[in-house]
């Protein structure tokens, strides 16, 4: 039902935690299922140098939160601006159609943390 990538992120979530004195915080909740992602980031010289994440909810949400950190650490803000839910979905392999909204939550957390206006 879920891809091996999702299962692997659930079993070994990456960059779990919370940065001290972060440059930005993105704390977003899906009001329907109450899944939540809380992302803290450090931004130095227009580049995201570090990130930590916490999440609760169904497997794709936790996996999306985990994979998000892998996709954003070390990237320039310009690169991050063009990151989309498709990139998250691609990194997670197959997502059941009913679960596609989990990728949106991850992107929302990033935008809120970095301060992009959308």
């Amino acid at each position: 039902m879920y891809s091996p990538q999702i299962a692997e992120h659930i079993a070994n979530p990456r960059n779990v935690g919370e940065l001290e004195n972060p440059s930005g915080i993105g704390d977003v909740t899906n009001e329907v299922c109450l899944d939540r992602i809380r992302l803290t980031v450090r931004i130095e010289d227009e580049r995201l140098t570090d990130a930590r994440v916490k999440a609760s909810g169904c497997p794709p949400t936790i996996a999306a939160a985990s994979v998000l950190t892998e996709l954003i650490i070390g990237r320039s803000l310009r690169e991050l601006d063009s990151l989309t839910r498709k990139d998250i979905a691609g990194a997670l392999g197959h997502l059941p159609p009913a679960k596609a909204h989990c990728t949106a939550l991850a992107i929302d957390a990033l935008r809120a943390a970095v301060g992009f206006k959308r």
Binding site: A7, I10, A11
Partner: protein, 404 residues
């Protein structure tokens, strides 16, 4: 290590069952209806299995009807009674926590002009005798209440309900019948159709280390029942279709093992289940056991881990070789959370964090030890991930529960 703790979903076949079945796929391929010696040997094997299934539930062999499984047994019981007695009444009583095989059949009958009462259950998952008594009316033809629930393992007071049925019959409700779905109870507790006082009882092979695709419906002698399947006079005209001889032989062997090893299996499963539960509670004091802690089968533990999504936990455990199930909303493609746990009055979050461990006759101490160790790490890791204020609320809940 692979640890299968989802025996309420299905079980591995016992080695003895496989061995008993094998000849009936090849050399002993006879059709039990044939007159020649191949057919007669198949017929003899079917009748031997019928005696074994009958012995397991203390019924006469002639009152056992072989069917394709628990779902068909439930369909045959509910629809068969409803249709055979429609001229005497069109009211059925059941519960909100039945298996979908009963619930969906009842819903389908509602579309055909029947009236169905779905009784509520207590927080422990038990039906109240008073509710049953109050629900019976002059046109009630069937009461269907499961013996043990598939999600929580809670055992219903079937004998007491049978007493209410007897009272109603004494008042003249001649067409009132009593059915129990015993699929999850067989092989876990002692089941005796006379002590229970039921007219019909469903059971399934693959829940008791027998084969899939075979089950039986006990039908008390003299019960009028409309057939579901037409096309022959098999099974005393209760169910048409060539007998699934290997399946029936396998069910017979599984029934024999379930009967002769029952005490030993109960002791073993209860010891391991209780140990598993104690270990979980000692590591995570906020773990709640769902269903009635006492009135339940010895092999099931349904628990809620606060703050965690059951499916996330399930997947993490699966990656470590441990198979369990959950009543969580998103599980297995269904967006509807468990109707059973909802009927128990659990809050959405409690249903979401629920996990069912179900042991089998062959579960070992080493397997449980491994499961406990992986579970501890996994729950701790998933809890670490929960954003701060949610963790606080989980602790607050645990604290409020521990107060008298």
């Amino acid at each position: 290590m692979k640890v299968y703790l989802d025996n309420s979903a299905t079980t591995a076949m016992a080695a003895e069952v496989i061995e008993a079945m094998l000849p009936y796929f090849s050399d002993e391929m006879g059709n039990a209806q044939s007159v020649h010696s191949f057919g007669q040997r198949a017929k003899a094997a079917v009748e031997k299995a019928r005696r074994e299934v009958a012995a397991l539930i203390n019924a006469p062999p002639a009152e056992i009807v072989f069917v394709s499984g628990g779902t068909e047994a439930d369909n045959l019981a509910v629809r068969g009674i409803a249709e055979a007695h429609r001229d005497y009444g069109r009211h059925i009583i059941t519960t909100k926590i039945e298996h979908p095989a009963v619930l969906a059949t009842c819903e389908s009958l509602e579309g055909a002009g029947y009236r169905v009462t779905y009784l509520p259950v207590s927080r422990g998952g038990l039906v109240s005798i008073r509710d049953v008594r109050k629900a019976i009316s002059d046109d009630t033809i069937l009461i269907s209440v499961m013996l043990a629930n598939n999600e929580t393992g809670t055992i219903q007071p079937i004998e007491e309900i049978a007493g209410v049925v007897a009272e109603a019959r004494a008042r003249g409700l001649d067409h009132l019948h009593f059915h129990t779905d015993a699929v999850q109870a067989i092989g876990k507790i002692s089941v005796d159709v006379n002590r229970l006082g039921v007219d019909l009882l469903s059971l399934s092979g693959h829940k008791i280390h027998g084969p899939k695709g075979i089950g039986a419906l006990y039908v008390r002698k003299g019960t009028r029942l409309t057939k579901l399947l037409h096309g022959g006079h098999h099974e005393r005209d209760r169910r048409a279709g060539t007998e699934n001889v290997p399946g029936i032989v396998g069910l017979g062997k599984a029934a024999e093992l379930a009967r002769t090893q029952l005490d030993e299996r109960i002791k073993r499963m209860r010891k391991l289940r209780d140990y598993l539960e104690q270990q979980m509670i000692s590591r995570f004091p906020d773990v709640r056991v769902n269903g009635d802690g006492q009135q339940r089968v010895p092999n099931v533990s349904n628990v809620t881990f606060g703050g965690i999504d059951g499916e996330s936990l399930l997947i993490a455990l699966d990656l470590k070789g441990i198979a369990v199930s959950t009543g969580s909303a998103c599980a297995s493609g269904s967006l509807e959370p468990s109707h059973v746990l909802q009927a128990l009055g659990l809050m959405r979050d409690e249903v979401r964090g629920s996990l069912r461990f179900s042991l089998g006759a062959y579960t070992t101490q080493q397997e449980i030890d491994y499961a406990v160790s992986v579970l501890s790490q996994t729950v701790a890791r998933l809890r670490e991930m929960i954003p701060a204020d949610e963790t606080e609320s989980v602790e607050a809940v645990a604290e409020s529960q521990s107060k008298p």
